[in-house]
């Protein structure tokens, strides 16, 4: 088990090194650290002096080494000229909004897709199953932002029951200054509903289909037939024997899809004017803030790698067969 975890962590570090190298090369080619630091109103001579002081004339790998060292030891990912603050601070400030969005969406997906997927597997011929299956193809073909726009129109403008833009009231957590949450106020929660629902329509069809097909496959196996032959009740055969085997592949996919959801938060954040990382990213693109873009790349990559690694390790804990291969 230890060897398995260690191997996954080494892999994760290697991936991060590759990503940071790519990110740094881009920054090295098109970024402008001098401007990031002092703005544009300096003479060429001053610029050259500052560049020399910052070590911008050093060989590529010396600079790369410094970049990685600063990032790992000081959490220093450079400076954003757009916000005139360290990049990491800017990102941290926007992160809670996005994470809450993803968290809420994940919750909706789990609560809806598990029962519906299992139901469709157990009763494939009923009206509800057929309806769900055809509706899910439509769902896959529907862009999130279109769903979001329609939801805003219906719930916020036409019926005026839910708020449309922003996060609403937030509470500053632990007095940190950057960690604000909308989960603790009624208004904050109400603001979360529409963005989370529209984001979840993207993944719901996929999960319902996945759970359904995995479950149907499991129901055909010998060990399920044997569970019946042992005289177990349907509830036990379905909810204990079939369910756990269904869940294993679903968990892996869930880990990957959470990552993918981060990409789609950009779209929902734009529609809902949600002050998260995606919104910040788009701002950075429009103002050509390369330094912030690269920092965002590194942070998001790090997030993905951590989530993937944790999911893999969790999977190892749940699935007994993986544990053994891991210790070999």
């Amino acid at each position: 088990m230890f060897a398995f975890i260690a191997r996954r962590i080494i892999q994760a570090i290697l991936v991060m090194l590759v990503i940071s190298l790519v990110g740094f090369s881009i920054k090295d080619q098109i970024g402008d650290p001098v401007r990031d630091l002092v703005g544009e109103r300096v003479t060429p001579a001053e610029r050259a002096e500052i560049a020399e002081k910052m070590g911008l004339n050093d060989p590529f790998f010396t600079q790369y080494y410094r970049f990685v060292k600063n990032a790992v030891t000081k959490g220093d990912l450079g400076r954003s000229f757009l916000y005139n603050k360290p990049n990491l601070e800017v990102i941290l400030h926007h992160a809670p909004a996005t994470i809450e969005l993803v968290f809420g969406t994940a919750l909706i997906i789990i609560v809806i897709s598990l029962p519906l997927g299992v139901y469709c597997a157990l009763r494939p011929r009923t009206f509800l199953s057929r309806f769900t299956m055809s509706f899910s193809t439509l769902g896959v073909s529907m862009p999130v932002y279109l769903t979001a726009i329609l939801l805003i129109f219906l719930f916020a403008i036409h019926w005026q029951v839910l708020p449309s833009y922003g996060r609403g009231d937030t509470i500053d957590l632990f007095g940190l200054g950057w960690w604000s949450t909308g989960l603790l106020t009624i208004d904050g929660l109400r603001h979360l509903i529409l963005p989370c629902v529209s984001l979840s329509t993207l993944m719901l069809p996929l999960f319902i289909r996945l759970i359904r097909s995995e479950m149907m496959e499991v129901l055909e196996t010998e060990y399920i037939k044997y569970a019946w032959a042992k005289g177990l009740s349907p509830a036990r055969v379905w909810m204990v024997h079939a369910f756990k085997n269904t869940l294993l592949p679903v968990i892996t996919v869930f880990g990957v899809q959470i990552g993918i959801m981060f990409a789609f938060t950009l779209l929902t954040e734009l529609v809902f004017q949600w002050p998260g990382m995606g919104f910040m990213f788009l701002e950075a693109v429009h103002r050509a803030d390369i330094s912030l873009l690269i920092a965002y790349l590194v942070v998001v990559a790090c997030l993905f790698v951590v989530v993937n690694t944790v999911v893999d390790i969790l999977y190892g804990f749940i699935n007994p067969t993986v544990r053994i291969t891991g210790t070999k």
């Binding site: 010998e222 037939k225 019946w228 032959a229 042992k230 005289g231 024997h241 085997n245 294993l248």
Partner: protein
């Protein structure tokens, strides 16, 4: 006196898109206390379907279309699901073909044993665990204590089949139905498992229905044999009679094809051709295209199972 198990004129059909096909056709046999019966035939002959229909677990499009099954004087083929669950794994236990696929990979051996007991008896988890342990000892598993907390993939195939036998023993059933219990195992382990099954049936007073394609195995373990061909029993009788003086040309062919059944130096005989698939069974005797004794009548009339010699019943026009 009533039999422990009686299968009367069983017919099983599979509902397919283009119509129903008959997988089991008019099969009848009985099993008494402590009796061991072998169901023999090629794959597709209907032996497994017969076994599964006894506990009403035929795979999906299949259903019992005619006939009845009586167990301890009750017509269990009329039972509903809840009543049937009281029989399955409790009074009639099953052993499946491939031990690698039979146990659920994500639960421990102990978990899978305890849940079986708890499904049938009102006892505590600790009591159930104690019984599980006792049964594991009974099937001669080394360090049984430790096995309870292991996962199926940590055991070898032979060991897993022992675990499955132990599971079937849990609630002291009246009958064990073993569907090709040794086919997926190494030859050396096959003999051990068969010996174990036979020994347990004797010590625990259980009836056994052994489903197999291997006449050699059946002849060592059982007292009666039913030979099946294309969904029908074509020969039925005491094991030593069927093995040494078979009546039906198919059985003769089967026995002739076992290595060791004939003197050294002679060629093994093979039955020419293949068993027909269920969708195109020839008219008359289903065996007629492959039969050496075939006459006109064989293609016109279906032979019925009749008393022939030495207690053997056979379905053949020519004998």
């Amino acid at each position: 006196m009533s039999h422990l198990l009686e299968v009367k004129n069983l017919e099983v059909k599979f509902a397919l898109r283009f119509g129903d096909i008959t997988a089991i056709n008019d099969v009848s046999f009985t099993l008494d206390k402590r009796e061991r019966l072998g169901l023999v035939g090629e794959s597709g002959a209907g032996k497994s379907v017969t076994g599964f229909s006894i506990i009403n677990l035929i795979s999906k499009p299949g259903f019992i279309s005619k006939g009845s099954i009586w167990f301890e004087g009750n017509e269990i083929s009329k039972y509903n699901d809840a009543q049937m669950r009281e029989i399955r794994g409790n009074r009639i236990a099953m052993i499946f073909q491939d031990p690698m696929m039979t146990l659920n990979p994500v639960f421990t051996i102990g978990f899978q044993m305890v849940e079986t007991l708890l499904a049938h008896r009102n006892i505590s988890r600790a009591e159930a665990r104690a019984i599980a342990l006792e049964k594991l000892k009974k099937v001669h598993i080394p360090s049984p204590e430790q096995r309870l907390d292991q996962y199926p993939h940590e055991l070898s195939g032979g060991m897993r089949q022992r675990v499955i036998i132990a599971i079937s023993l849990l609630s002291d059933p009246a009958i064990i139905i073993a569907d090709e219990p040794t086919t997926a195992l190494d030859v050396t382990i096959q003999a051990e498992i068969m010996d174990l099954l036979q020994e347990l049936c004797e010590t625990d007073n259980m009836g056994l229905i052994l489903i197999t394609h291997d006449l050699g195995v059946v002849s060592q373990v059982t007292q009666k044999i039913a030979v099946m061909y294309a969904g029908k029993i074509i020969e039925f009788g005491p094991t030593d009679q069927v093995v040494h003086n078979p009546v039906h040309p198919y059985t003769i062919g089967l026995i002739g094809s076992i290595p060791g059944s004939i003197p050294p130096g002679q060629d093994l005989k093979q039955i020419p051709g293949m068993m027909p698939t269920l969708t195109d069974i020839p008219p008359g005797c289903a065996f007629n295209p492959r039969c050496e004794l075939k006459q006109d009548i064989c293609t016109r009339e279906t032979p019925v199972l009749m008393e022939k010699q030495n207690g053997i019943m056979a379905a053949c026009h020519m004998k």
